[in-house]
């Protein structure tokens, strides 16, 4: 029997509850020989800023136990480059586009959001107020009122669904999620990477040129699951859960914790088809356990 996998994030309809994670799937065209984007629930593209950014110097990434540290530094061609060079490829597919937007001040966020709205460049905007790899990047998601300020600034210039991407690097994520909801966010995505570092004992140097980086992958799954669970107990808007999802079982755990949709992040580096295969696996889980709709298990953990 067919199961329903479709979910809604604000007004955006996803055919499956699995999107790509920003920064872990490029702009979609890199994998054109491998991935049919129309099979994704949504495609969330890499952070796109007002101006082009070169990013951090190498080394930018290293492996840790069951995890990956990165300090990419938001390398991207800027919003106009996105609209001209990236969007046309994406729009060949029948799939919603989420554009991840970082910024250094409310004006930057609003500028990019406005350009995306004017040009039809996105179906939802994910506000990256939680990137640990650039100065000021993380600051917004550490304080409820700053989170609210950014969301309000963007809300004023767009009718597109707004997703607030939150950071786990805070004492309590709940008041921040609540502030995002109150300021008009249509959804919350979490978690962004966990701040950390790695040291090379032989060379006695940091492994990353940036010294610190953001930790992703299975190592952070327990942290992410708890963040999703806590936020789900706090807000009424949908949650896009991520952090260490490697397979459908992991994804189901996030949905049980309260996520309406999930993102395949680091796993796409290993298997660029992961987001598609995970959606298939969620359908199998539902069937095997006698459910007909993914909504039946959202937040169902006991």
């Amino acid at each position: 029997m067919a199961v329903n996998l479709a979910v809604k994030i604000g007004s955006m309809v996803m055919r499956t509850p699995v999107t790509t994670g920003s920064g872990t799937f490029g702009f979609g065209s890199e994998t054109k020989d491998l991935v049919d984007l129309s099979k994704l629930g949504a495609v969330c593209v890499k952070a796109t800023t007002r101006e082009r950014r070169l990013g951090n110097p190498p080394a930018r990434m290293c492996e840790t136990a069951s995890g990956v540290l990165n300090a990419i530094g938001l390398q991207n061609g800027g919003i106009e480059n996105y609209i001209l060079e990236k969007l046309p490829y994406l729009r060949q597919f029948d799939v919603p586009i989420i554009v991840n937007v970082p910024g250094e001040n409310p004006e930057d966020f609003a500028y990019v959001a406005r350009r995306l709205t004017e040009t039809g460049g996105a179906d939802a905007i994910e506000l990256n107020i939680s990137c640990p790899n650039v100065s000021h990047g993380l600051d917004y998601a550490t304080q409820p009122h700053l989170t609210a300020e950014i969301i309000a600034a963007v809300k004023a210039v767009t009718h597109l669904p707004i997703i607030a991407k939150l950071s786990p690097n805070v004492t309590d994520i709940r008041p921040i999620a609540k502030a995002a909801e109150d300021a008009g966010a249509d959804a919350i995505s979490l978690i962004n990477t966990v701040i950390g570092t790695a040291i090379d004992a032989r060379k006695r140097t940091f492994k990353l040129a940036n010294k610190t980086g953001g930790l992703s992958g299975p190592a952070i799954k327990p942290i992410a699951l708890l963040a999703v669970y806590r936020v789900a107990q706090t807000v009424h808007i949908p949650i896009i859960g991520m952090g260490g999802i490697m397979n459908a079982t992991d994804a189901v755990e996030f949905i049980l914790a309260g996520a309406t949709a999930v993102a395949a992040g680091t796993v796409s580096f290993v298997n660029p088809l992961a987001a598609i295969e995970i959606a298939d696996g969620i359908a199998d889980y539902l069937t095997q356990n006698g459910f007909t709709d993914v909504h039946d298990i959202i937040g169902a953990v006991q």
Binding site: K46, G67, I72, S268
Partner: protein
């Protein structure tokens, strides 16, 4: 599917007609060596250069040495096991014109030797008269691997060992210098084109020597590659123009003049 090339070194043969057909010297594959026994011990794929291809048989090989989880697991593979890989990967690979009147000089070290071996054989296969030299280095003779079949193909081999246990005593640049110095008495006057792959300090020394002698040099970068397919932007090289280039899909091979060595 597996043969020991030297202590701790393995040659792994895999059956994939498409890769055998499409792979060019400098291309690599990204291997995920995941088994129930090692689940989670290494998350990312690891890149390995194509070492040899047999187009007729549809077979390819990679040559590897054992470091961490991926290569330790690969060393346990038995004939019939399935290799989980993406490839052939790489945007820009070695460019060589087998028919031009140049002396092709390859300079390699460590796991930089396999792709140079592939390049040398490819040039020789296209033009048996091409002048091809492979200079390669290791700490000692028993770490020298990857020259299988080259002598038979007519490639000149100059080995350099730190301890002098084989060939030239010293570094690969000690083997390379005489070939670059004008007038080049032992290369019949042909211009020299250098291709290098190996540890970064070695490639840097080779590239700087070539620049000093005004010889063209192609370098194949061996930065860690978290994804190998262009989506993580974690493998970048800082180019001379100040931008960052993804070595997996924009490289791994670059003209030495484009590379900064920081």
């Amino acid at each position: 599917m597996q043969a020991l090339a030297a202590p701790g070194h393995f040659v792994l043969t895999f059956d994939d007609p498409e890769t055998a057909r499409d792979a060019r010297p400098g291309h690599f594959i990204a291997v995920a060596a995941t088994t129930p026994a090692n689940a989670g011990s290494s998350i990312l794929r690891k890149p390995f250069s194509i070492f040899t291809v047999d187009r007729e048989a549809g077979l390819c090989t990679i040559l590897f040495s054992v470091y961490g989880p991926t290569t330790s697991t690969m060393a346990l593979y038995k004939p019939g096991d399935k290799l989980d890989f993406l490839g052939p990967l790489g945007g820009r690979v070695f460019e060589a014109d087998p028919h031009s009147d140049v002396h092709h000089v390859m300079v390699g070290g460590g796991y930089g030797v396999p792709p140079l071996n592939f390049l040398a054989k490819t040039i020789k296969a296209a033009n048996p008269n091409a002048k091809v030299t492979l200079i390669y280095g290791a700490r000692s003779a028993n770490l020298l691997v990857g020259d299988d079949g080259l002598r038979e193909a007519g490639v000149e081999i100059i080995s350099c060992t730190d301890d002098g246990s084989l060939g030239v005593k010293g570094r690969v640049t000690d083997g390379l210098s005489p070939l670059l110095a004008p007038p080049a008495p032992d290369n019949g006057g042909a211009s020299v084109h250098v291709y290098t792959c190996g540890p970064t300090p070695m490639m840097r020394a080779v590239a700087e020597l070539c620049t000093a002698h005004n010889k063209p040099c192609q370098v194949s970068m061996e930065t860690p590659m978290p994804c190998g397919i262009g989506i993580c932007v974690g493998c970048v090289l800082k180019k001379a123009d100040g931008t960052f280039s993804r070595t997996c899909t924009d490289g791994p091979v670059y003209p030495a003049t484009e590379v900064t060595w920081q």
